[in-house]
């Protein structure tokens, strides 16, 4: 058996769940359609086969009760279990903000350290499939704004597996947001056990001219743009934070100190999105090194429209990134 294979992001997540469930009997899964749907689990196949392997008790199909599912997971986590909840779409997070924000994030703190809430809330972000306003939101910034939660957003199959295993082993509530368009992307992933620590960014492509911070679908667009612009001798350094809480700001700041220019690209709505947080932290640590304004290339400030002709102008494109970078260079270099 090979010590690495080409597998999808969805399969990588599936392996992480399987391995952690085998490793720790307190790990169990809760969610809608995670046991039977699609011939064995999960609208995006992430839990496929796990019900058969671990039983319906540990891979528990739930009613359509998002607030209740998350609340139940919190109670289970506070009493010795390690639940992993799946919310089918990140757009359903608004249904579960009460238990997530008022309970999971706060129990340990407000009880003076008495509680441990080791749970993972898996859901997703991302648009592009014509799923329209209620199935396309990227709400990670809300989570980042809540002390007591951690937040991971894997961009590749390798990271998806390594970060999920770490999240499950973490003794705190971790919100784990996958990207809808990445579930069936492939990468070589080792077979042996590995984990990726939360809070360690990855420099996906080194470059000396401009630092670009992006994750998930936007990361892949940034990398494509970097390849194109390299042909013109423009070298982008593309950084994937991997987790927004904890945030590896040092890697970003160190990069900006070298490139002196920063572009932040996220799919989430621009207004009050997390680009502002990265920008402030860079300003606080490296203002002197900035030779140009920090640039945002982000989702437009409207709900996601259905029609392709509209969706295309709302989601940041490679062209948007390229023109923003060209303008940055034209104006400031």
């Amino acid at each position: 058996m090979p010590d690495e294979r080409l597998i999808t992001y969805s399969a990588a997540l599936n392996e992480a769940l399987r391995e952690e469930m085998a490793r720790d009997s307190t790990v169990f899964l809760l969610g809608e359609e995670i046991g039977v749907w699609g011939g064995g689990g999960g609208v995006f196949g992430v839990t496929r086969g796990l019900a058969k392997e671990f039983g319906r008790e540990r891979v528990r199909d739930t009613p359509i009760s998002e607030e209740g599912i998350v609340a139940v997971a919190i109670g289970a986590a506070a009493t010795g279990m390690r639940p992993v909840v799946e919310l089918m779409y990140g757009d359903f997070l608004p249904l579960a903000m009460e238990p997530l924000v008022n309970q999971a994030a706060k129990l340990r703190y407000m009880f003076g350290g008495q509680a441990r809430v080791p749970m993972v809330l898996r859901s997703n972000v991302g648009a592009g499939g014509g799923k329209a306003a209620q199935h396309s939101q990227s709400l990670e910034t809300w989570i980042m704004h809540v002390p007591g939660l951690k937040l991971a957003m894997p961009s590749t199959p390798y990271d998806a597996k390594g970060l999920l295993k770490t999240a499950i082993r973490d003794d705190n509530p971790v919100v784990f947001l996958e990207h809808k368009l990445l579930y069936f992307t492939k990468e070589v992933v080792p077979t042996e056990d590995y984990t990726i620590p939360l809070g360690v960014a990855s420099i996906r492509r080194p470059g000396k001219d401009i630092t670009v911070v992006a994750m998930q679908a936007m990361l892949h667009k940034a990398l494509a743009v970097a390849t194109k612009l390299a042909e013109e001798g423009i070298e982008l350094e593309v950084i994937d934070p991997r987790t927004l809480v904890p945030l590896d700001i040092d890697t970003i700041v160190e990069s900006v100190r070298r490139t002196n220019r920063l572009v932040i690209c996220h799919e989430a709505v621009e207004r009050a999105g997390w680009a502002g947080e990265i920008a402030m932290q860079v300003i606080e640590r490296a203002f002197d090194f900035l030779d140009a304004p920090i640039v945002r290339v982000c989702g437009k400030n409207v709900p996601m429209p259905y029609s392709a002709s509209l969706e295309n102008v709302v989601i940041p494109t490679e062209e948007d990134l390229i023109s923003a970078i060209r303008q940055l260079i034209a104006t400031w270099c």
Partner: protein
């Protein structure tokens, strides 16, 4: 669309006592819905419909029976499976189809698509991508009607899967407490995606949940358009006269997959075949023909007319341009 002199007296499951034209129109509307949703696999496979769209084939009697018991000014809220509800309430299939294809002439200008089909001009307050999302909106519409004294009734369609959403308790309680003019129509089509009601719901008799909220209710055969019409007519009359909300569980079956990608491994061909015997359209058709209200020829003609209407709608939709990208910045604020 509405049986003017409907009253409890005429509410028997016999055809006589009901206007023949209404009974025939029920058939036509059900056929129109079926013809419309029968296009979904084709258009999706052709890549003309994006995202996911949900067919209500097999459930036409619920949509038509319920909406025909309403006045044009009454309100309806729907679910992710909302084409039938919209057509039953009087929606224009051309603008609906254009919406499914994301075109400029769509009823939502291409911004909503299948899951957000809506037509406020006929009181159809929208399909909803959030399971249970329509319940609150319908309750609010009923409160609005009560405060304005407009006598409008709000009918809320939702699937049996929505029975476990907390919003049902919160809004059901308010509706009962305030005696709002509302009908909660729960379409129990036996599935929530791959899940059976018994796998996720603690009670088998769904009206019992409504009873815990102070809302009376009953079960009705959701494949019998007249039975649905009668039950909803009673509930609507009751609601309109200040009697408060009423819950109806319409028992039916989802003939197709949850959506196109559904492999349907979780149910048997035999089960489907058994339910096909209760197919609301041929059964209603035969009943009308047997009773002499409709001739075979008329039935065939109506079927053809509805298919033509849908084909024209598809043509219309295909002709309609994609929305101008600049319109993405419109309709955010009034």
């Amino acid at each position: 669309m509405v049986n003017k002199n409907d009253s409890a007296r005429t509410r028997n499951n016999q055809l006589k006592g009901h206007e023949p034209t209404l009974l025939v129109e029920m058939l036509r509307r059900m056929m129109l819905i079926r013809a419309f949703d029968s296009q979904l696999p084709i258009l999706s496979t052709q890549g003309l419909i994006r995202g996911s769209s949900h067919a209500c084939i097999g459930q036409e009697a619920t949509a038509v029976g319920a909406c025909f018991a309403l006045q044009p000014s009454d309100y309806v809220t729907s679910t992710h499976r909302g084409h039938g509800h919209t057509i039953a309430k009087g929606g224009n299939v051309r603008f609906m189809m254009a919406e499914l294809l994301g075109r400029a002439d769509g009823c939502c200008r291409g911004k909503g698509g299948s899951m957000h089909i809506a037509d406020f001009s006929i009181g159809m307050l929208g399909a909803n991508g959030i399971v249970g999302g329509g319940i609150g909106i319908a309750t609010g519409a009923a409160l609005s009607s009560a405060i304005r004294g407009s006598k409008q009734v709000a009918l809320c369609f939702f699937g049996e899967g929505a029975i476990n959403q907390g919003i049902l308790l919160e809004c059901g309680n308010m509706a009962a407490l305030w005696k709002l003019p509302m009908v909660l129509l729960c379409e129990n089509n036996q599935f929530s995606m791959s899940t059976r009601p018994d796998d996720v719901t603690s009670i088998q008799d769904l009206p019992r949940r409504a009873s815990g909220l102070g809302i009376p209710g009953l079960k009705v055969d959701g494949t019998d358009v007249l039975a649905v019409f009668n039950a909803v007519s009673d509930a609507v009359e009751r609601a309109r006269n200040g009697g408060g909300p009423f819950f109806i569980e319409a028992v039916c079956y989802r003939f197709e997959g949850h959506f196109l990608a559904d492999d349907l491994k979780y149910r048997s061909k035999d089960e489907l075949a058994a339910w096909h015997l209760k197919d609301p359209i041929p059964n209603w058709r035969d009943r009308l023909v047997k009773s002499g209200i409709l001739t075979e020829q008329d039935a065939i003609r109506i079927a053809r007319e509805t298919e033509d209407a849908v084909n024209h709608a598809v043509e219309f939709a295909k002709q309609s341009p994609l929305p101008n990208p600049a319109t993405a910045w419109e309709d955010l604020y009034a």
